[in-house]
Symmetry: C2
Subunit: 321 residues, 2 copies
């Protein structure tokens, strides 16, 4: 268990039966049938981003996107944001440019900046975002709703952001497609709202810490186990070549690369075909079907390869480890 998971489980034990702790966002009643979903994120320079290769524009985009993604993962529409920023003198200009672009990015996404806090920092830039979305009660998707037999799906990239991240960290030239996926992730806002409306979708979360780690969390929250069918995962030539350039194992990159901000969700088996076709028609790209949910087993996550089940050793994506 990572330190983060340990702390979250300590908090869960102390605040029983809460909406929120451990989910992508907390849930509070609005009026009638509507709810607010609220999520909070902390981004620390040289832990979550580096100023030397992440421009203020890109950081503004990414800061909002990772939060929009949390709201999308609940099936909700993001509406309001709060920004806390801590700046030292040496990064004041970078910080001001970031703020200008953050305001612009909020406006472009119809998100209202409701408030925040600006403070000095001794050294590193720290960003803290609280985002609020609105959703109808019946459309809320939690991590905890998966049932045995459900199909596990992903909408969006797997591992591409990790290729971009590795290339940027190692100052590797080219691979700009992957660098861009890491620097300017696309929050699946419309997909999240669409999937929120599907009754056949039983659980959902976004992928920030890597497929294996996040799927383990979904399985634990649902009190089930998840099997990833490795044979279902397709590795494109382009992806394999990029991995080879960076000495990355393609399969491992797909299974544990973080920061893709794709949506991970489970669907009732009988409704999967229809949903997948519907999704393709709406968004122009295919869902990836990566495995299925089973009753609880010895571990929350299993892999299946050539028809054989085994228990993986997990390495969580840990930013700049």
């Amino acid at each position: 268990m990572s330190t983060e998971d340990k702390i979250i489980s300590f908090l869960q034990e102390n605040f029983v039966a809460q909406n929120g702790i451990g989910d992508d966002a907390a849930i509070l009643p609005k009026e009638k049938n509507k709810f607010y979903v609220i999520s909070k994120d902390l981004l620390v320079e040289d832990v979550h981003f580096r100023c030397n290769y992440c421009s203020p524009q890109n950081l503004a985009h990414k800061t909002l996107a990772v939060n929009l993604s949390d709201i999308a993962a609940m099936g909700a529409k993001a509406k309001y944001v709060f920004l806390g920023i801590s700046l030292a003198k040496k990064n004041l200009n970078y910080g001001k440019a970031f703020l200008r672009h953050f305001v612009k990015t909020c406006k472009k996404n119809n998100i209202f900046l409701l408030g925040g806090d600006t403070t000095k920092s001794t050294d590193k830039i720290v960003l803290s975002v609280t985002i609020i979305g609105v959703v109808e009660k019946n459309n809320i998707k939690k991590r905890s709703g998966a049932h045995a037999g459900d199909i596990i799906c992903v909408a969006g990239n797997l591992g591409s952001a990790h290729i971009g991240f590795t290339a940027l960290e190692n100052n590797f030239p080219g691979l700009s497609k992957y660098k861009n996926i890491f620097l300017r992730p696309h929050a699946k806002q419309q997909e999240g709202i669409f999937l929120g409306k599907q009754k056949s979708v039983t659980a959902m979360m976004d992928l920030s810490d890597g497929l294996s780690t996040d799927l383990t969390r979904l399985a634990i929250a649902s009190k089930k186990s998840a099997i990833i069918n490795i044979d279902n995962i397709t590795i494109s030539k382009n992806f394999a070549a990029a991995c080879s350039n960076l000495n990355l194992d393609p399969q491992k990159t797909i299974l544990s690369g973080g920061e893709d901000y794709s949506l991970l969700f489970t669907v009732q088996k009988n409704n999967y075909e229809k949903l997948a076709a519907n999704f393709k028609r709406n968004f122009g790209y295919e869902l990836q079907c990566i495995g299925k949910i089973t009753e609880k087993r010895k571990t929350a996550l299993l892999y299946k390869k050539n028809g054989v089940l085994f228990y993986p050793k997990l390495n969580s994506f840990a930013h700049f480890a």
Copy 2:
């Protein structure tokens, strides 16, 4: 104008007519006549607190208290909190002790921890709190409601926290009463709710950056000017002696010392006597009447001494400047 005020005014210009930016908390509709008020704070090690003289217990108390204070300043009752924490390996034990005490402090205050975010830090501890309160529409107090003729009041200490802060920073022995006020501020939760219910209270905020700085903000938000009557400010013997020990000017300490987390508010003149008596009966201590609101003048803040008005030079409290 401080960098913080400049950034806030930049944000205000870009998000017109918002509840929130510049106030203690933002306001969002709940159901019927009720509203959520939401506030966000960032606390950075060695900017807002130092681990060498602030125990994890005290930090947990203070982190919650400064946020409870923001909610009280809106006339609201605090209900929910989100905590973001960024920890480096070297301060993991301090951080874990902080978390234990933070959970305890939330429970003691009937505040539910709804979620949060834990991340690594490269060096300093960073805490980010989002707090949510609930209030009836008619009881919401903003900074912007003051009218010419209103009396300016303070509930709580003025300058005492700054004495404690200065003593701690200079490793000065004794003065534990003042050190305690700085380390374990008392959020005026009950006072805030009481004042929220008083129709005669026209504007309210909490005092975090010092009386002069914060009153200037209230006056600007209300499009008025504020006059502090210096002759009204009483300096106790004990206070003067503590200041003398630390080479602090008592009057300046009262006018610009930060982190008191007292409530600053304005009251309709005709209702002041009744409110003050009522307040004394409820809370066992006197309100301080420190001046009055006037129509807008050349500057937002004026001082009056021996009947003569003058424009002060302001030095905002700037934590560990």
